[in-house]
Amino acid sequence: MSYVFQWGSVWPEFDKLLLGTWLTLRLSAMAMVLGLAVGVLGALGKASASRWVRALVHGYVEAVRNTPFLVQLLLIYLGLPSLGLRLTPDQAALLAMVVNLGAYATEIVRAGIEAVPHGQIEAGRALGLKPRHISRFVVLVPALRTVFPALGSQFILVMLASSVVSVISAEELTAVADTIIARNFRSFEFYFIVTGIYLALSLAFQAVFDAIDRFLFRRWSAHT
């Protein structure tokens, strides 16, 4: 083996890697919030009385879940301009992540809504709650609590998938590493460190989600 590792080359760039970590965190957090919003809307759409709305949401979910994220990203970034919608790499990356997460979140939230016992809704009605209060406090909030662990896992998968947006040079951790490597050619060293950072991020997110589950929702997580 003739290769000489140069781990020392990592330290001068550490501030850049930290910045990249922050960018990944910010991008993922925005995608999580917006993706969850899309998921809630999608799940409500799946419970809609209109057959057309249900079919539309179903088509969206199936299309996203059965195609690769990379292709979705390239379709949005390269394909949408020909329809007149030109996005910066950062906007395209966020949109692709939201579209992707939204589909998975739709299915997860829908499962939570279906798990709400019908008796609860009848009880809400018997208490004289307005329909919109029932759908909010009796159905949606308990449903989100039920599926929170599954949502957390999906959030982490989206955070990890965000490394793919480096192919359109959106600003995040992998793209930062790519830029450094293009200058000093220490590919293995930098990708190794960056992989470690992603691992730390996913463990940290898992810890935060477990804590939310435990203290906010007062329930011991099923995660081991």
Partner: protein
């Protein structure tokens, strides 16, 4: 010079599907073998093998597939092997697949009621024989739907091999797009091709799950017994 997007481009893309399927098949076979080993280690009573399996699964589930492919690709180079996109893609996807399958199968093994192990021990079978003849055949039944479902993730994961230069469907799309510059048509068609590969598997997995539901054998229900 910009070429027209014509029938020959469509044929080129459709033909590239075979490399996607072949890569996914390699990753799935390799990932099944390695994954089974780690699933068994993960349910082992000995602490060290169990801890090793937990670390393996956590590391590969907690890092991006793209980073795994990069590390295998550049790592092979360091070991003096010719940096080969085929090798790196197949090996990287095998690691990734094995970690997820190990975790899925662990759940299925643990869903088998304790009494089955006790019963097998009462038949004077050793631990590995208990697993082989009593636990795994039952776990296999409940493992099939999630395993088929995960094959969809493997198929989609192969698209990342395009980034390290492996010519499969997504890389073929980039080549066609560079020549014709019709991104919406090219990537739309490629998305449709992926959909045609993945959707039948998704639908099949869901159907199997419903069938299992009917006979009340899902892991959750078994665990509750």
């Amino acid at each position: 010079m910009i070429r027209e997007f014509s029938f020959s481009e469509v044929v080129f893309l459709v033909e590239a599907v075979r490399w996607t399927v072949l890569l996914a098949a390699l990753a799935f076979v390799g990932g099944s073998i390695v994954g089974l080993v780690f699933a068994v280690l993960r349910v082992s009573k000995a602490r060290l093998p169990r801890a090793a399996a937990i670390v393996y699964i956590k590391v590969f589930q907690g890092t991006p597939l793209l980073m795994q492919l990069y590390l295998v690709y550049f790592g092979a180079n360091l070991l003096g092997l010719q940096a080969d996109a085929w090798l790196a893609a197949a090996l990287g996807l095998t690691f990734y697949t094995s970690a997820f399958l190990a975790e899925i199968w662990r759940g299925c093994i643990e869903a088998i009621p304790r009494g089955q192990w006790d019963g097998a021990r009462a038949m004077a079978l050793g631990p590995l024989l208990q697993l082989r003849f009593v636990i795994l055949p039952q776990a296999l039944r409940i493992a099939i739907p999630p395993t088929v479902g995960f094959m969809v993730q493997v198929l989609k994961g192969t698209s990342l091999a395009s980034i390290i230069g492996f010519t499969e469907l997504t890389r073929a799309a980039q080549m066609v797009n560079n020549a014709t510059f019709r991104p919406f048509i090219v990537y739309g068609l490629v998305a449709a091709l992926y959909f045609m590969l993945c959707w039948p598997l998704s639908a099949y997995s869901r159907r199997l799950e419903r069938q299992l539901d009917r006979v009340r054998l899902t892991p959750a229900k078994l665990a509750a017994q």
